[in-house]
């Protein structure tokens, strides 16, 4: 369910707000520098969403969103757009899986790409997203990688296992 919600949300946000249609699955060999944004969310489930994008694609996406020339954009503007993109994808995913409950989104932050789950190359070549129970109270991450104009975007959703949520609530 979360897999489908993530895929649908990425497509809808890119097409509706950024006027971008994804080109398909990314190629395996990626070597470009990347930017990463991360935000936490609380609800049922709680967890973290990480969005990573190649630098060239990030500049292109920001230009589309702001209606400005790529070369005129500052790093601050590109970061603002990536934060907003992550925020919209996360909100869209959670609205699809939590239609009757309220969730809370944290503030998206730019992070070092290494803070995401693995390199973009690993994520992009990982094939279809998968979900299974992992260790340490977290499920295995759900990863969705898409090729867009001028690069690749990878979105990773890491959720906490329900039993962990219960244990944490009891601890407080």
């Amino acid at each position: 369910m979360l897999n489908r919600a993530l895929r649908d949300s990425v497509d809808e946000v890119l097409e509706t707000m950024f006027f971008i249609r994804r080109l398909g699955e990314p190629e395996e060999n990626l070597s470009e520098s990347e930017l990463a944004v991360q935000l936490t969310f609380e609800g049922n489930p709680s967890g973290t969403l990480t969005l990573r994008m190649t630098a060239t694609a990030a500049r292109s996406v920001a230009a589309d969103f702001l209606g400005e020339e790529e070369l005129e954009l500052s790093h601050q503007q590109i970061g603002d757009v990536l934060r907003e993109l992550a925020n919209m994808i996360c909100g869209s995913v959670l609205s699809r899986v939590e239609s009757d409950t309220t969730f809370r989104l944290g503030s998206p932050q730019l992070v070092e790409p290494e803070q995401g789950s693995g390199s973009m190359q690993e994520s992009a070549s990982a094939g279809q997203p998968a979900q299974a129970n992992g260790e340490g109270g977290q499920r295995d991450p759900i990863v969705h990688a898409v090729e867009i104009s001028h690069g690749v975007m990878v979105v990773t959703v890491q959720t906490e296992a329900p039993e962990c949520l219960t244990a944490e609530k009891l601890a407080f």
Binding site: Q77, C90, G91, S92, L94, S95
Partner: protein, 128 residues
């Protein structure tokens, strides 16, 4: 008739996008004011009259819910219609914000014509 609109969002990118979308949609916009949170918005409203407010929910200092409460408590400002723009499409959230005084709700992502339609409906703009 052209309208004066206040956009309240802590994301400069989102404020810029909303302004551009309003213009591109063909909505009759005369002036677009901006504020980064509810407190800044109240400061703007002390000096400028607007016809409608478009506000985010999750913002620092004064968030969208508190902003709606303060608008509703202000005799001069309570008549200005506020439309919430948010990523949160859950029914509980929408119902709560409408109960706080929001006159409309637009979920991100949205098409330009959806935002225009919500603005025109809220303002009672006659159809073309």
């Amino acid at each position: 008739m052209a309208y004066r609109v206040l956009v309240v969002d802590d994301s400069p990118a989102m404020r810029s996008f909303v302004r551009r979308v309003i213009e591109l949609s063909g909505f009759a916009l005369s002036t677009c004011f901006e504020a980064a949170n509810g407190q800044e918005a109240l400061d703007v409203l002390r000096n400028e009259w607007v016809d409608a407010i478009l506000t985010d929910i999750n913002m620092p200092v004064v968030d969208g819910e508190e902003f709606l409460r303060r608008l509703a408590a202000d005799e001069l400002l309570r008549s200005i219609p506020a439309i919430v723009i948010s990523t949160d499409a859950t029914q509980n959230r929408i119902a709560r914000l409408l109960s706080l005084g929001a006159r409309g709700y637009v979920t991100k992502p949205f098409l330009p014509e959806v935002l225009r339609a919500e603005l025109e409906k809220t303002l009672g703009v006659p159809c073309d």
